[in-house]
């Protein structure tokens, strides 16, 4: 494949961006989810990930439809509502060599799927978990989800009286090792975070505020484009230099928190919030809780830990995919059965 003409830009494995595209989106024009799909395409293209080496897994909802709209060359599994983590876990165990991206929504994650979500976090399963968060159930025409902020107002005038679940605070507390929040309208921040996410070994949990233009983009919504443009407060500016990039940028180390990723890439977080240290778990949770109390919407990289073993490390698996191990490795020999039988006589 990829016999691109010289005029078309190709990535470092020789593929044009076209090879990362999906089918035409059937989501509403202007839906934040479409912008997120675009950033995923760009990130995978720029990182030179082979499309065949990516598994796309999703649950149910508008967000979960979106894997159809990026990377058609990647195998995809659109499962049942709230259960993407389980499917992803099984698929990753069967083939640990793949890069796995899970797409979920706020209902899919924070309500029906909260049980699986928290246990996936505990396991530090190596995958990228994206919540396309619009605070609302759109396919059923606009009910609040569990990430809707306290006091936000539905189109119908209904006011949300329950506190929002902060999926980032939850993820940090429970064991995810790469946690951040972005906004579908912030191309630069989201793209950098996605590229770093591809380099990370462990659970990446990205909560991406993604306005629903049909049911939650009005005055009084805290998940609207307008609200986010006015209230988005990045705690750091996310920069990413891939291992294969030759560009060296000078930076002031006092103002930048640098993280070396396990593939040799570099994540550079320019501090906006004074002395914010994204390797400090307790501080990260405290910062998020304080922000929630003050009605602030923080974005950026909240927490990163590149040392924590993943679930695959704990299982001590062979390097090859379990799914395609030959029979010689998976069926014990006759002598093994003979010995078992002898012991039962």
């Amino acid at each position: 494949m990829a016999s691109a003409s010289p005029s078309i830009r190709v990535n470092h494995i020789g593929l044009p961006i076209l090879e990362y595209r999906g089918e035409k989106s059937t989501l509403c024009p202007g839906c934040g989810h479409n912008a997120i799909s675009e950033r995923i395409i760009e990130a995978m293209f720029e990182m030179g990930v082979e499309p065949e080496r990516v598994m796309k897994i999703s649950g149910i909802g508008c967000s979960s439809k979106s894997p159809a709209y990026f990377m058609s060359r990647s195998p995809s599994f659109n499962g049942v509502h709230g259960r993407m983590p389980a499917v992803a876990t099984g698929a990753i165990l069967a083939n640990r060599t793949m890069t796995t991206i899970g797409i979920s929504g706020d209902g899919d994650t924070a309500s029906i799927g909260i049980g699986q979500f928290v246990h996936m976090l505990r396991r530090n399963l190596p995958m990228i978990y994206i919540i396309e968060n619009n605070g609302v159930y759109a396919l059923t025409k606009g009910q609040f989800s569990a990430t809707a902020d306290l006091g936000s107002v539905l189109k119908s005038g209904v006011v949300n009286k329950l506190p929002a679940i902060d999926t980032c605070a939850l993820a940090i507390q429970l064991g995810a090792t790469f946690v951040g929040r972005s906004f579908s309208g912030d191309k630069k921040q989201l793209l950098s975070m996605l590229k770093a996410a591809i380099s990370h070994k462990g659970t990446v949990m990205l909560d991406v505020i993604s306005p629903c233009v049909t049911f939650n983009d009005h005055e009084g919504s805290t998940k609207s484009y307008k609200f986010m443009q006015e209230n988005d407060e990045p705690i750091n500016e996310v920069g990413f230099v891939a291992s294969f990039d030759e560009i060296e940028v000078d930076y002031d180390s006092g103002k930048v928190f640098e993280v070396e990723m396990h593939d040799g890439s570099s994540l550079r977080l320019h501090k906006l919030l004074a002395d914010y240290d994204p390797s400090d778990k307790a501080n990260a949770v405290r910062t998020l809780m304080e922000a929630q109390e003050n009605d602030e919407i923080l974005t950026g990289m909240f927490y990163i830990n590149t040392e924590q073993p993943t679930y695959l490390d704990l299982l001590n698996l062979v390097d090859e995919p379990l799914g395609t191990l030959p029979e010689s490795l998976t069926r014990p020999p006759r002598s093994a059965l003979d010995a078992l039988m002898a012991a039962l006589k």
């Binding site: 389980a86 099984g90 001590n316």
Partner: protein, 614 residues
Amino acid sequence: MATGHLAPVQQPGARSAQTRVVNDFSINIATVNGSGSQSANSVLMKSIFGMGVPAGGKNLFPSNIAGEPTWFLIRASKDGYVARKRDSEILVALNPASVEDDLRAVPAGGAVIYEENMNLDHARGDIFFYPVPFDKITASICPEVKLRKLLKNMVYVGAVAQLLAIDLSVVESGLRRQFAKKQKVFEQNFGAVKAGFDYARDNLAKRDPFYIERMNATAGKIIIDGNAACGMGAVFAGVTVVAWYPITPSTTVIEATIDLLKKLRVTPEGKATFAVVQAEDELAAIGMVLGAGWAGARSMTATSGPGFSLMAEFCGLGYYAEIPGVIINVQRAGPSTGLPTRTQQADLLSAAFLSHGDTQYPILLPGSVKECFELTQAAFDLAERLQTPVFLLSDLDLGMNNWISEPFDYPSKPLDRGKVLTAADLERLGGEFARYRDVDGDAIGWRTLPGTPHPMASYFTRGSGHDDEAEYTEKPEKYQAVMERLARKFETARQLLPAPVAVRDSGSKIGFLAFGSTDCALRESIDQIKGRYGQDVDYLRVRAWPFAQAVHDFVASHERIYVVEQNRDAQLASLLKIDLTGGIAARLRSILHYNGLPVDAESITEEFAMKEGL
């Protein structure tokens, strides 16, 4: 517990002069849950087995950690019958809380070995009483108070062995195997056995007619429970991903699997060729199984009633998106929480149609521990061949109790990994790949696995409406075409599933149909019916749904069919009524047993005789 027949009070001594009852009786050991009697019970059962006498054990235990009554039934049967015997002739009474009921259940002419301080000997005049001061004996041989509770169990092993004339040397060698690597523990336990044995020899005059005599009917045989056999089957089927949530009575399937995987499936470099995940619930367990099956693993879970219900939605996805996976359901008594530690065969209908919409699943129905081993392996091959979740329905009786069996055979065929296209295949096809297209006429498409290095390899797996290229569709004709192919695929399954077993084919006009663990009681009942009434009855044991043509033929060639099963709602008969054509379903009658205890032969025989007017 079963109720015995209380004969009028008579002098038991008169009866003891009658014929000896050799190698054909049942022992009921009544203890308190948590008293550590399990290894003693096992030693006693294996001692009978060691005497060459066919023996089996059934643990009737409460859903409780400690304190509630529990019973262990050991049946010795020279004829090789392994079902629960309705009445146990010998009672070992160690639990004051249940002794009144336990005593009432002993049939006339039976014997009771009991803790002396319970003062039972005037309770009935038609059975033999053997008081044994278990506590005193135990105290005399064991200075450590903490150990006494456990060793007391071994004292009754010794006393029972002496009364039944079991060779002490056989008990000794059984005990030695039980505590193979723990010489001190062996010595303590054998000391207790011997103390009980000596007490009985010196103080109890044998009056009852029950004896164990040496036979040669167990040479080469093994003793194993069905759950361990399922675990073994999974390992020899090359399972690679196991996801589960603990639930009685299926837990030991996975524990046995893990145990064997750790022994047999670690590379010389110390790496695991398997992954086991204790999931957060059954929803996650089945999701992991399907995720793994989709990505090419041989994946499995084991569960029971409530967990099986939770798996419904995902199984429907597995059916519609055509993803392999093996689900072992060790049935317990429902509905709801039901009786978690009692047996039933009442998940057959829910298994057949689990999940909303039109769904169907192949179901395998092992009737013995050997079939637990063989059909678990078959389940993996069938799941990948048919690209669907496959259910294996065992039950608590088969799964958690000890059964005598021929040793298991090493699989004779290589693993069947089903229809999977490689990159080279795709290259040859010029990229012509439609995931759900029936290119072979068997209604099974070809699939690719994630990671196949070819730009045309990927497809979009979804539980929403799709066409044969796996594209989303709501078009009526395209949706319907897939549903119709799935129905045809089920007919392919019918051809591939294990055939029923014609257990008895005498040319009778009456037939029995049954599945699973009902088999052992039914075989015995057929002999009883022949012996008592001279009536031959044919018997076909069903091993899979959808039913093979041979099941239809069996019904068609008999005037009356009794479907014997362990549930209230006649679930096998109901499935038969759905499947049978031409009005022959009217020939079906039911014999049902559903009180939580394993079915026994007498109950079947009596109901059959009543319904037949014999």
